[in-house]
């Protein structure tokens, strides 16, 4: 499938990357950005990942710098604020009886002798 522009914008949203609320000030952005860059330079485990509604993502120095740059531009920040409306936590997908997903037979290929079992689906 082709790159999903909106999914990327959500997964790499500067507010999620920096772990800040969308109402934060400019100073908080700079301070938090520098903090993450220092932690990443020291290869600290706590800095390696950040949480978004689409799941955990890897935090890199490039992403942090890009996030800081984007939040300095008010027009770009406005779009990011709009897309960071959901809290920074993985969403729980609701299933209703009407459209509950069907059973996946993850081990079907191995039972048929044609491949290893598949992993269960997660956020893409």
């Amino acid at each position: 499938m082709k790159p999903q522009p909106l999914a990327i914008k959500i997964a790499e949203n500067p507010f999620y990357v920096l772990g800040l609320p969308s109402t934060c000030t400019r100073q908080e952005v700079e301070r938090e950005g520098q903090k993450w860059l220092s932690m990443l330079a020291l290869s600290l485990k706590e800095a390696a990942f950040y949480v978004t509604p689409l799941g955990e993502q890897q935090r890199t120095p490039e992403l942090v710098r890009q996030a800081m740059a984007d939040l300095r531009d008010p027009q770009k920040r406005l779009v990011h604020e709009l897309l960071a409306t959901l809290p920074a936590q993985v969403i729980e997908v609701e299933n209703t009886p009407l459209d509950a997903p069907r059973d996946r037979w993850a081990s079907a290929l191995s039972v048929l002798g044609l491949g290893p079992p598949r992993k269960p689906a997660g956020p893409r």
Binding site: M1, K2, Q4, P5, L6, A7, K9, I10, P53, L54, P74, Q75, R77, L78, V79, E81, L82, L83, T85, L86, I91, V93, E94, T96, L98, D99, A100, P101, R102, D103, R104, W105, A106, S107, A108, L109, S110, V111, L112, G113, L114, G115, P116, P117, R118, A121, G122, P123, R124
Partner: protein, 499 residues
């Protein structure tokens, strides 16, 4: 013992002498071109050889029973030579011994007599597809075997390519290649080839929970029957809420092999009430309550975590339309714009709208057409049009490139030719699924002449007769559906040119 070998040689000598000439040099065959091994050249020699091997095997087994352990040196090789394909699929493939599977399969004079190196490569690829961590070197080794030594690409080679793609984790490519086997004549895509391809596709669809596709494969006339296929068909019917009693499901389970391994899943399916019709194919359309922007983002993120379904796409679009037109969202954005010093709140809304449209466009599938274009929300309708235009552009582009390459005589390996062709056909099929007969006609006009010329080039200049035949068969079936008599007649004539 009757000297059958000497008699055979004598008969051959007499027959040659009677014809007054020696056997003419045989041109390299470009295809298997037979329904069974009995119509293969050399079938008689195969039978004689099998008799000798059987004699060696039974004699050495008798000696083994009499505790002459040295006889094992004759018993094992004679068994392998007698049943190379059986040994390969029952022992070597499950053990993941790709190179050994390739070599042993080369001994086959029945199943793969006229299909080398495609058949042995298929066995090796199958062994790799089963492995949890297939090595890149082994995959490259099999790919190299496929690219060299064959006068023309066969269906077996394409299944091997598909299984290698699966081994590399390229599932979309694997599906496309294995599905493409349906285009071949049954003398090329023989029963063992179709069985392996359809089994993989069935397992893949079941593993992803795509039960409509399972049913589609099991109902196809070209799918060779098997007890496992019957079980999967029964499970698919139950999953889709079609008639299938619990007793019937268990009977199919009892008939199928590997009962211990399938028990758990069948028990899970059997717990489902019978005839529970789900709104699966399309899903259910409904408005999500709550704050509009949160709802839209939540719906969108939920849709991204599952295979997209048409109704879900509509739900996402409805939620976005509601959010982006909502006054409270506009007011909130304007207030924030004033605080942070942004010049234009409305352009932020437009930017998000464009992002949503760009994101939804590739998710639009033919299933959405079932809902009726007029019933679709504006965002989906725009995404629908954008997707259709993009597919038309892609089809035109791909068809032109194939044509230009043919005119310039630029050859690529036959495996790459097939990949290119299948991508073009996949785009064509996507377009057909999006629109009605008019869309199909329009798309066919783009490929009709170009693919005929391309097929003729493959047949004449490249001697890729099986692949060319598959191209003509595809064009013929489309021409018949669209009532294009001229194209149907031309492609019928081309199909009759042989394999």
């Amino acid at each position: 013992m009757f000297p059958i070998g000497a008699v055979f040689i004598l008969v051959r000598v007499i027959a040659n002498a009677a014809s007054g000439s020696s056997t003419p040099a045989r041109a390299p065959a470009t295809s298997r071109g037979s329904y069974s091994f009995l119509s293969d050249s050399g079938a008689f020699v195969t039978l004689v050889l099998q008799v000798f091997l059987w004699a060696a095997f039974t004699t050495s087994t008798t000696a083994l029973l009499a505790q002459s352990w040295g006889a094992v040196l004759i018993a094992v090789p004679s068994f392998v030579a007698l049943f190379p394909w059986y040994t390969t699929r029952r022992i070597l493939v499950p053990l993941g011994l790709a190179k050994t599977a390739y070599q042993v399969c080369r001994l086959s004079r029945v199943t793969w007599r006229e299909d080398k190196p495609g058949g042995p490569a298929l066995a090796a690829a199958w062994a790799l597809a089963r492995s949890k961590n297939p090595s890149a070197a082994d995959i490259a080794w099999v790919e190299a075997k496929l690219d060299q030594g064959s006068p023309a690409l066969q269906a077996s080679g394409i299944v091997a390519m598909g299984l290698l793609a699966a081994a590399k984790g390229e599932l979309t490519e694997a599906r496309r290649l294995l599905e493409s086997i349906g285009a071949f004549d049954e003398r090329i895509a023989t029963r063992p080839i179709r069985r392996i391809a359809s089994s993989w596709l069935l397992g893949d669809a079941a593993a992803e929970g795509r039960w409509e596709q399972v049913l589609q494969i099991t109902l196809s006339k070209r799918t060779p029957w098997s007890r496992t296929m019957w079980l999967l068909d029964a499970i698919a019917r139950r999953e889709l809420g079609k008639p299938m009693s619990t007793l019937g499901l268990w009977v199919f389970w009892l008939m199928a092999p590997r009962r211990l391994r399938t028990f758990r899943f069948v028990a899970l399916v059997a717990r489902r009430p019978e005839m529970q019709q789900h709104a699966h194919a399309l899903g259910s359309i409904r408005v999500f309550p709550g704050a509009p922007l949160e709802a839209a983002l939540y719906r969108h993120c939920s849709a991204l975590t599952q295979p997209p379904r048409p109704a879900e796409l509509v739900n996402v679009a409805l939620a976005w339309e509601r959010a982006l037109d909502d006054r409270s969202v506009h007011h909130r954005l304007e207030a924030r714009a004033a605080v942070i010093g942004a010049s234009n709140a409305a352009s932020a809304i437009d930017e998000v709208r464009a992002l949503v449209e760009a994101e939804l466009a590739p998710m639009v599938t033919g299933d959405l057409a079932q809902l009726g274009k007029s019933a679709l929300p504006r965002l989906v309708s725009q995404a629908f049009d954008a997707r259709r235009d993009e597919l038309h552009r892609e089809l035109e582009d791909r068809a032109s490139r194939l044509d230009a390459r043919r005119e310039a005589g630029r050859e690529v390996p036959s495996t790459e030719e097939w990949r290119e062709l299948q991508i073009t056909i996949a785009i064509y099929r996507d377009l057909c699924a999006l629109g009605g007969i008019g869309e199909r006609s329009l798309a066919f006009s783009v490929i009709r002449d170009r693919l005929v010329n391309y097929g003729a080039w493959l047949f004449n200049a490249r001697t890729e007769k099986p692949v060319a035949n598959a191209v003509f068969r595809f064009l013929h079936s489309e021409a018949v559906v669209l009532g294009d008599e001229e194209s149907a007649a031309l492609n019928r004539k081309n199909i009759d040119c042989g394999l």
